[in-house]
Each structure stands twice: as C-alpha cells, then as structure tokens.
C-alpha cells in the first residue's frame, strides 16, 4: 500500500517512515508541511496519508486543513490524522458529514504497531478510525444524552467501538464475544436510537457518527 507521511518533527517523521516500511507499507514520500503534502498527493498515486495536525507555518491546525482539502480533491485517498491532543472539535470538522476514509488518533497509539497499521489499512479502504478518547468526548458532547442513557452498558461498549470505526469482527475481538452477539447489540442500539441499521459496516459507522454529531450548535 502506498502512503505519504506528513510530520514536521524530523524525529517522529523518521520513526513513522521506518515503522511503516518495516510493516510492509510503501512510503512514497515524507514531507514536513501542508503545502508539500498537497503537492505530493497531487503528483503521486497514494492510497493513504498519515498527517500531523500541528505543522508549519502557524503550528495550529495546518494538518487538519490540508486533510479537508484532500478530502475534497482526492476523496479516494484515506487520511489518518495524528495529534498529541485529540479534541472533539477537530474530529467533528474532519468528519464533516462523511466519515468515509478518515481517521484521527493520538500520536502515541502508533506504538501499538499492529493496531496502528490495521487502522491505516481500514482508513485506506474507506473505513473509519477514531481514537477512543475522541469517541468518549463525542458521546458526552452529543445532545442526545438521554437516548444514549437508555442503552445497556454492553450496548454502550459496542457503540463506542463502532464509533472508533471497528468492524464487527474487531468489536467481537475487543469485547471477547461472538460476532453474532455483536450483530444483536448493534440491532438493539439502532432500534433504541431510532436509526436505520441497513447498509454495510461503513454506512452504519456513518449513521452512528452523524447521530453523535447531531444537535450541536
């Protein structure tokens, strides 16, 4: 899989490149700011980009803005955004109304190499990968606090994992239950929240994230 790395710290950039190379990814380019990223993606044919939020020149949210530009111009390229802080506001902006092919993780999650690479592959394939911290914030922030309260603890766990972008198999592995049980829980969740459960896994993640993002001022 062909990926681009955008990270302004040389230390971390090198680390990411080596890590990805060791795990079998083809790192096409490694750049240090948003403009270079856009240029590289325009030139090369990449499947995904790993992007740091804080980059030159202003060191605030360059990565995020570059990611939004990429989503408009090259919707087929998956974007995994890394940051030392994850904030619900950035996640909402990144997802906008389409969580397809988008990820937002704390930088230190990279150390769990298997998980990180799985997330990157998922994002490249059009799925979602949201950090658990961000999902927790989303759950709290949503105006639909009461219907969420009607979920059982198990269902909340399933919901949380779904919002992170996990597949049914992934959720089953996380919660140490069978996939059938996961399907049942998902059905119950969608019924309680009044959402339609049809469509593939991506569609359902989309529905959940949209639901959680609703009602914001």
């Amino acid at each position: 899989m062909r990926v681009v790395v955008a990270e302004d710290s040389v230390l971390l950039r090198e680390g990411l490149v080596r890590l990805l190379a060791e795990q079998g990814f083809d790192v096409v380019a490694a750049v240090g700011d948003g403009e270079d990223l856009l240029r590289v993606v325009g030139v090369h044919d990449v499947d995904a980009a790993v992007v740091d939020v804080r980059m030159p020149p202003t060191f605030t949210d360059e990565g995020l803005r570059a990611a939004l530009v990429m989503r408009r111009r090259w919707p087929g390229v998956g974007i995994l955004v890394l940051s030392q802080y994850v904030e619900e506001r950035y996640a909402t902006e990144l997802i906008a109304d389409n969580p397809r092919g988008v990820g937002y993780l704390l930088k230190e999650r990279v150390a769990d190499v298997a998980e990180f690479c799985a997330a990157l592959r998922r994002v490249a394939g059009g799925g979602t990968a949201l950090d658990a911290d961000v999902v927790a914030q989303l759950l709290v922030r949503s105006r639909h606090v009461d219907p969420l309260a009607s979920l059982t603890p198990r269902e909340r766990d399933v919901l949380r994992s779904m919002a992170q972008g996990r597949s049914n198999a992934g959720i089953a592995a996380d919660l140490v239950v069978g996939e059938g049980a996961v399907e049942k829980h998902i059905g119950a969740i969608f019924a309680k929240l009044g959402l339609s459960a049809e469509g593939g896994e991506h569609r359902r993640v989309h529905a959940v994230l949209t639901y959680l993002g609703e009602g914001r001022a």
Binding site: E22, E87, R89, A114, V145
Partner: protein, 500 residues
Amino acid sequence: MSDDMLALSGPSASVPGPGPRLAGARPGSGVGAGSSGGPAASHAHGAVVAAVARLAASGRDRLVAADPGTPQGRARLLLRPLPWMGMAYLSAGVVVGVAGLALPLLAVLATVGLVVSWVGVPMWSLTVRALHVATCGELARLRLATGLDLPAPHAPVGVDRRARVESALADPATWRRLGFWVLRAPIAYVDLMLLGAVVGVPFLLAWASLLSLFDHNDVVMVGGPAGASVWVPAPWPVRLLLLTVSLAALRVVPPLVVRPLLALDVLVARALLAAGEEARLAVRVDELATSRERAVDAAEKERARIERDLHDGAQQRLVALTMLLGRAQARLGPTADPAVAGLLTEAREETTAAIAELRDLTRGLHPPVLTDRGLDAALSAVAARSPVPVTVDVDVDPRPAPAIEAVLYFAVCEGLTNIAKHSQARRASVVVERVPGLGGGCDVVRAIVADDGCGGANQAAGSGLAGLADRLAGVDGRLALSSPPGGPTLVTVEVPCASS
C-alpha cells in the same frame, strides 16, 4: 547626609556641605572608574564629577534641605551657600508677574468679544493657548529655583478650536490658573520688597561701615550726595564690629527669608497652577491599567510558550520513544523470551503514562484548542473528561481577548474539578454567555458552573477558588459563590471585556 542623593555606584561621597548632591562619586569608584587611563585618570575624573555636581547643587535652595532646629542644621545654615537661584527667581518674579497680567486681561477682552460676536472664540483660543504656555513656563521656572517637579497641565484637548475653547472654559482649572496670574504680580512685588529689605539693609550698613573706616565723620554718605546718609557711631572698633556684623547678616539672613518666600510661592503654585490631584490620579490609573493588562498578557504568552516548548520537546521525544519500543515489540517473534516481551510492554506502559501526564500538565497551563477554536471547543473537551456528566452551553460571539478566554477556561476547570472532588453531584452544567453592557459600557462575559451536589463550598484560603479570585482580579473579574449546605452549588464568574 541628605537622603535624596543619587548614588550611581559605589559608596556615595561624604562631601561636606548641606543640600542635595547629584552624582556623589567617590574618586576611584562610580562612573568611569577603571574605564581608561588608569587610577590617576579615574581619580581626576571622579573629582571633576564631584566638583561639577557641587557647583550645580550649590545654586539651589531645596526646600527639603536640613532642618534648622538641630545643631547640625544650624551649622549647615552658616555654611550654606547663598541661594542664588532662589533670589534670582524672586527678583525676576515681578517682571514675570507684570507680563503675566496680560493673561487675565486677555481673558476679559475675550469674554467681551464672546458676548459681542464670534470673534470671542479665536480670542479665547489664543488665551487658552497662551495660558498653557505661560503655566508650563512658570512651573519650569519654579522647578529651576526649587527643584520641585509639580505636574504640568495637559495641552488643551478638543477636535477643533471651538471644542478646545469649550473644554477649557468648562474646566475649573483654567479659572484657577487665571486667578494665579492675577495674583502673580502682587505676590512677586511683596517678595521683591522683602528680599530687597533683607539684602539691601545689611548691604547698606556694610558699605557704610567700610567707607567709615576711611572717613572720620559721623555721618557717612553712601552713594554720593543723592544717596542715603547713614549715621555710624564714632569709635572705629565699633565701626569694624558693625562691618563684621552686617557682613555676617548678609551671609546668614537671606537664606532664612528666601526659603519661606519660595515656600509661599510653591503653595500658591500647587493650589492654583499645577494640574490637580484628580488629574494626576487619572493619569496614574491609566498607566496602571495599561501596565496590568500588559502583565496579564505577558503571563499568558509565557504559558503558551511553555506549552509549545513542551509539545515540541519532551512530549515529542516521549512519542518517539514509545514508537521505538513499539517497533521493538513488533520485531519480537513468537519465539522471543517472554521476559523481554514483558519488559518492553512495561516500558511502553510507563511511557504512555508519562505522555498522558505531560498532556494533562500542558492542558493545565494552556490548552492549544482554546487558542485555536475557542471556549466552546475547549470546555467541551473538559466536560468530556469529567466523571460527572456535564452539559456545556457556550455562546460568546465575538470571541473575547485571549487573556479573558484563558481566565474563564480555568475558572470553569476549577469549578468542574471541585465538583468531581467534593460535590458528589449527579449532574452539572456549564453556561458561558456574553451580557451586553448597559449604556455603552463594555460587555461582560459570564460563566456559570452549577451542580446538584451537596453544597457547602467556600472560598477558604488555599482552596482553588481563592487562587481563582486572585487571577480574576487581574482582569477586573468577579466571583460569586452560592453553596448552601445540601446544595445546589452555583459558581458565577464575570469578566468585563472591551467589545472587540
């Protein structure tokens, strides 16, 4: 030693003589010591500096000089140099006073002009301008004579001539100053007469006694046939005595008289001429408000800088470290020594914990999302991490200044921390809103943190709320706490902000 010495560096010189000194440099120390030419040159340099300083100081008769009540003070009076500056000032006063009478005269004419026609406005404008110049000049003259720095009035304010005249006429200070200029001439005349008497009489006597030493008549003509005739006693030891006494009087008495006269002048100037206490205080308040704002801003910038340094430094390194550990773990195959795998796992866990701690620390200093996205985003993030469910409702468009946002953010954080630690509440809410100012006053941003817990919170010293109150004071903010035992608790923070 007089305590209004300005010691540059090194010990101040114990130069004999009363009155203030400027640079009291002991030869060899102080400015220029050791700079060039070796010890001899610096000795000479120091001596020159001291001599110049003494010369400059000797002409002034500072009103804060030694008190004649003490023996030391009395001795100093005898040694004190004649107050030339003071005497020159008092002598010139009459001339200035007579010239200054033009100002009230001009004012009267201008008032007549106003009544008659529009020509009064430019006349008054001229009067106001001339008054300002004359006042500043007189205060400068007074400063030269006494060293006292009375605050000068500010220039006439107003967008155009008419506004300037209006504001000047409305200001009572203008009328006080005109009153001063009415009084200046008579007071100066009295000063001059007294000074003349005090200097002239001993001088006349001294001159007469001197002449009488060479002349055996009883009556001495001073200054030719048209001058005064002074009767001097016959025996010439007495004449010598008279000479000595009058010379001594000439030396000692003028300073005694000059000082009270100057004091009177200063009193009148303070009352009528200088800018009033209110104006001075107003200027000072402005200065203090500006400097405080700068201090608060500087503190906030410093915190932001530390956060950035931590982010780019220590946090970055820890993330790189944890990546290395992860890569190492990934390379361990299934046949690896389980002890090694275990150690690596532990190492990664410790590193992750360190990263999380640093992150909490920097959030406590200066959360980046606050600067980037504002109070809504930052407070949502805080609420999400609160163990007690919190609803957040923020509406502060347009965004307040960064320093104010920071104070509000930390106020709400403090409130939520207290809720988590002490309140045993089941739910909490945060509301931040902008309350428009009344009648053109500036807006107030209000943050209310409420919970349904057990209440009983107080602003005891050492609690977070006390520290918060201090920080609020820096931005003119206020804290109100309502927390009856049994709850509910309401913490209200209000910060005024200039509408941006």
